[in-house]
Subunit: 360 residues, 3 copies
């Protein structure tokens, strides 16, 4: 038989993927972005003129697949792709209604109407880049931390894939957080963030950044604190993580950061406070994975908490429950960066999609 | 601290809004459109070539936010924005699932997962113009008529905001109604509506326009009749409003229009019949606000009703329940304008969005 | 009264439709495509450069109306329209929530909130082309096979209408199937499918194509096998249809194809196996219309089944239930064409929409 003219068959799929494993094909972890200072400089370039790269996206299609609800990510990522001149298709998958079979040798007479080995390559065939949101189930730690769903898209779609929050990471958020911290830090040092700093360092000095757990009424995933810790560890900041005992994040995300169980000590001298709730990561208490093991309201970030800091700025990924995570006066203060932080989601998404387009 | 590079912080928000309070920043009431004859002439210009203004919308994004279902408004507004070269993001908010906290000082441990003070500025940061649909709850007159939800978007989004039907007004519909009446009236006078009439008058003479209540099986908002009355009062027509006792519209919308409880007297000599059901506005009967207080089928517009008119044209905003509001023969007659009236929704939306783009 | 300037009124609607009944105004059956070889050549032209016809779609809007769920059709059709430079509006109609009244003389005080005589022309007024998905109810054969819903769109929308799977046909799938079979057949004959064959024949020889029923756990419509049979009958292939007794397809789709109740005999020497489940078409057993009358697992296509063929290729429209319709080894084999077949959905949609644009 002559050379196939088809896009790919199952037999070709592995080879096709191997051939394309270059440049920016995935965006899940901070390493996927390469040199962070280059990326931050690129973010400022994009921010100055977010419509400057429209030829890159011409006749290219982004497929955004949501297995879970989304507001900020949906809007900011769609906006970023349109800034780049792309076509965008949004696919809302009701997680309950469309279950993908992942095993072979199964008689599919139950509630799973399609096998991922068909569904994923087919979706890949109608687009150029895939963004995917698929939250942690919070019942099976091993399954969640293996990133099963998302890895299948990487393996079988034949397309670059980026996370719009997966079971364990939310890198578009963490990148936007870093952009915001860099902008604020440079501004506080008296300079606009126009030039990329040398040697991978935030100019002038090293800010102290504190990731603090705060109470919440629902069990939330660890994706945001995981990625934030990973990105801050890669950036030139002093990272301190503080939370009640039992809330230890996975060591691969904590890295060399200092873990401090005394919230006041953690906050002392802090330049940035990043508040977030997360459920038990199951590191020290495997049986408690995904559960709420504290609702200690003394961890809510209020004006007294902020008074312990070095005139610290306040960040949160949003949405935020006021009164639980943070008080009204803190989030509405001039030191609150939550709105520009959210606005930078458009910028982080645009840099990532731009790079994926360049690598197509 | 140096000048902030952020889009805005909470502290900047008020100033930012004040700075931008010029030209067409909102579209809720007929006054927002300025001179009506200029607007009608612009509508005809847009209708002649609806793709003539695409440079205006280049790299601009319309965010359409729906707290309630929509067919006509969704399609016509999206079409209008695309005619203008804009990018469009449609956000369907399940009113039950995403409740915004509006109070300060609350511990948000209930069903409201986000505070409007974060949600609205964030949505504003991903777009250039906002269209919003948020129906009346029909249980609390004061809350509905204060336009609480929509005013929060005006106050906190930092963007121009237009109504895609709010608790009390539906100006895109009323503007389309006026365009349709003007076209029909000029045509009936023997001329095409090509030239803008002088002195703000529909040429030739003043048509008699009757807004008539008609029965319905469900309790409906007053937004459509409110806006229709407001717009007709501003236009050069003779407006008569007719309905059973208890259905009096809010005086600020009724204005100087004649209210006639005898439907036959109201219809006599009418050039245009605008039928619509609405629930009790609670003006004369506060306790009945939002309730059905009459299902009198003698108010259904049938051929006999139309025989009382001056060969009157029939209008309705759609969707319409046949047999309750109007009979088949009337809505299908050559005097029925409901289809071109709906088609003019694209034109009214395009004029409004065009003006907002010009004012950006 | 002077000539109306309105798009159309009810009185004009029939005339407007008559005037526009030329060229490609509908796409439901294989005859709508005209000469098949020309269409196949056009498919290859589109596939070589799917962005070559963007001027055609400039400022044109496709409205995709879904009364039922969709994955492949939604994505591939949207992609095809964007390839052609069109604007796309997707309308998801919850079949339960938005019921259209179809009768006249009815008092609409029930669950039907709009009459199709308003809803359809209004939707038509906001777009240039309509795609519609509306599945069979599988309870009333006469209603389903009359294609009531879709025909109303053809009659009242004033726009070209194409099927995105209706009660009885799925021509975008069948066209993609034919493209895939032609590509594979030419490739197997040693040539790339670059030149359109002469005389309406697949070059070289006539492949044997077998449409085989296979078991399923849910009652499925007959649209896919109906259209596949219709298209294969129109193409230059030898078509054999095989299924258990009682599953006879409607004669108008079966045409001159051989029906063979012995699956093994049917498969012997086959070049292409097209597997699909369908519920009872009610041809020989009217009372069983839409029911499952066999779950005979001996009909599942496995390696032994494929061994009966002439090194046959395997096709399925997807989604497919593995273990019921086909085994893992067959669908994952190098002879499986299901992924390129799905990818060709973009091509078949693009040819159809391109032709409709040319006929506007």
């Amino acid at each position: 038989m002559a050379v196939s003219v088809f896009l790919y068959t199952f037999a070709d799929l592995d080879k096709s993927l191997r051939m394309k494993q270059y440049n920016m094909r995935t965006f899940f972890n901070v390493e996927d972005l390469g040199d962070l200072q280059t990326a931050l400089a690129e973010a400022q370039e994009v921010k100055k003129n977010r419509f400057a790269f429209q030829e890159l996206g011409r006749n290219k299609t982004l497929l955004m697949i949501f297995f879970n609800n989304s507001l900020r990510t949906r809007l900011s990522t769609q906006k970023a792709a349109m800034n780049l001149g792309m076509n965008v298709i949004v696919l809302d998958v009701n997680a309950g209604a469309w279950k993908l079979e992942t095993e072979r040798g199964v008689i599919m007479d139950g509630d799973k109407s399609e096998h991922l080995l068909e569904a994923i390559p087919v979706m890949g065939s109608y687009c150029d880049i895939i963004g995917i949101r698929s939250f942690a189930g919070l019942t099976d730690r091993e399954y969640d931390y293996a990133e099963t769903i998302v890895n299948q898209f990487v393996q079988y779609s034949g397309r670059p894939v980026f996370a719009m929050e997966t079971a364990t990471v939310h890198p578009l958020q963490a990148f936007a957080d870093l952009i915001t911290i860099e902008e604020s830090w440079k501004t506080s040092l008296g300079g606009e963030p126009k030039a990329a700093p040398k040697q991978g360092r935030l100019e002038g000095s090293r800010p102290k950044v504190v990731l603090t757990w705060a109470p919440h009424c629902r069990a939330l995933p660890q994706a945001v604190p995981n990625s934030f810790a990973q990105w801050m560890n890669a950036a030139d900041v002093e990272l301190v993580i503080t939370h009640p005992e039992g809330y230890e994040l996975d060591p691969k995300f904590v890295g060399d950061a200092r873990v401090e169980y005394d919230q006041k000590k953690a906050f002392e001298g802090a330049d940035f406070i990043y508040a977030k709730n997360w459920s038990c990561p199951g590191v020290t208490r495997p049986a408690d994975y995904g559960k709420i093991i504290s609702k200690d309201m003394s961890w809510t970030v209020d004006a007294e908490h902020m008074s312990w800091t070095n005139n610290g700025k306040f960040l949160h990924c949003l949405p935020v429950r006021r009164g639980l995570i943070v008080t009204d006066d803190v989030i509405e203060s001039k030191n609150s960066l939550v709105i520009p932080e959210a606005a930078n989601r458009e910028i982080s998404a645009e840099v990532v999609i731009k790079r994926m387009l360049e690598a197509l």
